[in-house]
């Protein structure tokens, strides 16, 4: 197994890096997404991530396989949290290892861009004066 896709309560950068690193790959590119403390000028108290977990894992695996088959990547990890998260906490980690670092960067950016478009995970932002499902309305 040279790909890892997981959804769980808590994720770390290290577990993603440990999975993809191997003595035969010189370069690893990583993307880490964290909860911001404000959005559009409003202070964020917390986030809540709801996941359609079996389909989300299936879509994450599609992204990972595409990257391995089309983008010169040997090992890739895509980790996402579910549940409540506070500002500063890590919500997504993507790590890609490749002999050529350019391919690793391209793959990592493709993975996060595609994840945000296709993976059935929903983020609710909690403000002092209410809550909203992100991006639901035009």
């Amino acid at each position: 197994m040279d790909l890892l896709v997981q959804i769980k309560d808590s994720i770390t950068v290290q577990e993603a890096v440990d999975f993809v690193q191997s003595p035969s790959c010189g370069g690893v590119a990583v993307f880490i997404g964290t909860v911001r403390n404000e959005t559009r000028g409003k202070s964020v108290q917390k986030l809540y991530f709801e996941c359609y977990t079996p389909m989300a894992l299936s879509e994450m695996e599609k992204i990972a396989r595409h990257i391995q088959q089309e983008m010169g990547i040997q090992r890739i990890a895509i980790l996402h949290v579910s549940g409540e998260k506070l500002p500063g906490e890590t919500v997504v980690v993507i790590a890609a290892a490749a002999p050529h670092r350019g391919a690793a960067f391209t793959a990592c950016q493709y993975a996060i861009d595609t994840l945000k478009e296709t993976v059935p995970i929903w983020k609710k932002e909690y403000f002092e004066d209410g809550e909203v499902w992100v991006a639901a309305h035009p």
Partner: protein, 77 residues
């Protein structure tokens, strides 16, 4: 036929699973049924239907036993 709902679609329906009693055989028919029952779904930026954990097109057929889900605009990452 059971339909799973997530995110804002779940809030609009007021439940994570609904029962569809009218017979619907295509994704397009299910979509019309849902829009009729929950008009606020029309206000969303998008509203996809997934069948057996795969995004479905309006012309796709629905079989008894399919796992059907309403996918409002995703916002992970």
């Amino acid at each position: 036929m059971k339909v799973l709902l997530f995110g804002i679609a779940k809030d609009i329906a007021g439940a994570p699973v609904i029962q569809v009693d009218t017979p619907v055989t295509q994704v397009a028919g299910l979509r019309e049924y849902l829009y009729g029952r929950y008009p606020r779904l029309r206000e969303l930026r998008s509203c996809m239907i997934a069948v057996n954990k795969v995004y479905a097109a309006d012309g796709d057929a629905l079989q008894p036993g399919d796992e059907i889900a309403v996918i409002p605009p995703v916002s992970g990452g």
